[in-house]
Symmetry: C2
Subunit: 310 residues, 2 copies
């Protein structure tokens, strides 16, 4: 009913990072794409097949190093239902390999509809008495613009399935301040207000290590706000995007952590996915290059925060 499994995995591997699986075809070695094209022609099936092989290679190489993966739903949806099928297959494969899976869907809706999203991504669907798992991730990113109604159904499923969620608080993109940095009548920013809601919502999903099942997304590109929120939200675990390709470094993410090296999991997508291209590695070594970059990133962050203890 919380993020405890993720936290334990972070401590076990001494690695507070998550690999974002945001596959674009241009990231995938030609030999994998060619094989898929030969089998399926120039179709969405071919794209999806290439993504699956690529993801499996990455997961095989990363599962002993990185505690979690974060597939970004958009990149799978861009390949149609065929891509969404590969999202499900990727989640299943990563879980099989012991990884914690965060589906990055930023889902949001009114209560009854949010029940369907929660069932879809974290829970179960019943078909005439048979209980089935549509996607089966361990955690889901959500958007809190609709208020508590849109969070409660996810919390309910998190409780039942031992899962968690991450609510968008201060996002990593350049225009995130347009609304999130605005100041409300009580003098508090919108992002801080959303953060305080996470603390409140999290009371229903307490965890063993002081952090609840309701985490927050806070971008590495805003280190000042990261530090402010870390102090203000002691029970809220942070998912921190924006390291690497988006410009954040180890010094930028350090304020997200508590004194035990807990409190945050830092995401990198492109820098890991495209490591083979950036380092000039052979295409066949794409996964090895990803693992090397994941180790470099881990060590970079650990050099700032020290040993992680539960």
């Amino acid at each position: 009913m919380s993020l405890d499994r993720m936290i334990e995995k972070i401590a076990q591997l001494q690695n507070p990072t998550v690999a974002g699986l945001d596959p674009k075809l241009s990231y995938i070695p030609e030999y994998i794409r060619e094989k898929a094209l030969k089998e399926h022609g120039k179709t969405l099936e071919a794209a999806a097949a290439a993504v699956l092989e690529y993801n499996r290679g990455l997961i095989d190489a990363l599962c002993g190093i990185v505690p979690a993966v974060k597939p970004q739903a958009a990149y799978y949806e861009a390949f149609g239902w065929q891509g969404v099928k590969v999202l499900a297959e990727t989640i299943a494969y990563a879980k099989e390999k012991g990884m914690f899976v965060i589906t990055d869907g930023k889902r949001n809706d009114i209560g009854t509809t949010m029940e369907a999203y929660a069932a879809a991504h974290l829970g179960k669907t019943e078909v005439e008495g048979e209980v089935l798992t549509p996607f089966g991730a361990d955690a889901l990113t959500v958007n809190g613009y609709l208020g508590s109604d849109g969070i409660a159904p996810v919390a309910k499923v998190c409780k039942e399935q031992d899962g968690g969620m991450f609510v968008l608080v201060k996002t990593s993109n350049p225009s995130s301040g347009e609304l999130q940095d605005r100041i409300l009548e009580d003098g508090m920013t919108v992002y801080r207000t959303m953060g305080e809601r996470c603390e409140e919502w999290g009371k229903e999903l307490p965890g063993k290590y002081g952090y609840s099942g309701v985490g927050a997304v806070v971008g590495a590109t805003y280190p000042k706000q990261l530090g402010e929120l870390r102090k203000a939200l002691p029970h809220t675990f942070f998912l921190v995007p924006g390291y690497g390709a988006q410009g954040g470094g180890a010094k930028d993410v350090a304020p997200a952590f508590d004194t035990k090296g807990l409190g945050a999991i830092v995401n990198a997508s492109r820098s890991i996915l495209c490591a083979w291209q950036k380092t000039g590695a052979a295409p066949e070594d794409f996964a090895k290059a990803a693992a090397a970059e994941a180790i470099r990133m881990r060590d970079d962050i650990l050099s700032e925060i020290g040993k992680i203890s539960l």
Copy 2:
């Protein structure tokens, strides 16, 4: 590059409503479910097959009466990738029957990821030079919490594909006010601020009838705010959920319209989908009952707003 096609269809059919296709298995007549179960067993495939047959029946019955359908992505995702396949098939079928399709996905993310969502739901994906359509809806609902970065890629695809978007402004759920009704330092509510952004974003996507390609979601359950926003946002077309099962009536949605009967499209989901159950119709007449309820709803709203003219 706007919502003009939808507006023309509304005027042609003299019907400012959209049927929400939010299928739950419990809404679907037993004879359809039984057939699917016989073919596929108690699986997500069976659920998806039942949903597709049900949706096709509804679309056949509604396409001459209702200008648009709004499939809610959550209900399809709850049946896994098999359900998402049926989302794509439902969209294709509705378009074939001449309906305007709004995918209700409330998608949101940073710029690069939003490009993938826009391509997925409204645009095209290229696979080795072949241009393919993943879902191909005419419009998409989006959440503006991330600011302009998350809107611009959708606007770009709307321009290319003659599509539109609806940004969440004031949602229909009970807790929508928690953030949306908060007042910012300049004295303006969050929802109004988001609404003003729609006017701004819409300038890039002007339409022939005074309304841009950037619409807003404003709930029928908040008629006062509907009226306020109609006056404040003269170029922003409203998608109005909350009529029927959520409690809104014709008098509640009337303030959403301009003097020509334009400016809003009112959604009903459960009241149409479950009309056969509510009226005690024979299961075989589910589509006929849906059409009758759609006509009742149309007439109910027209009785408040009068003739629709372009």
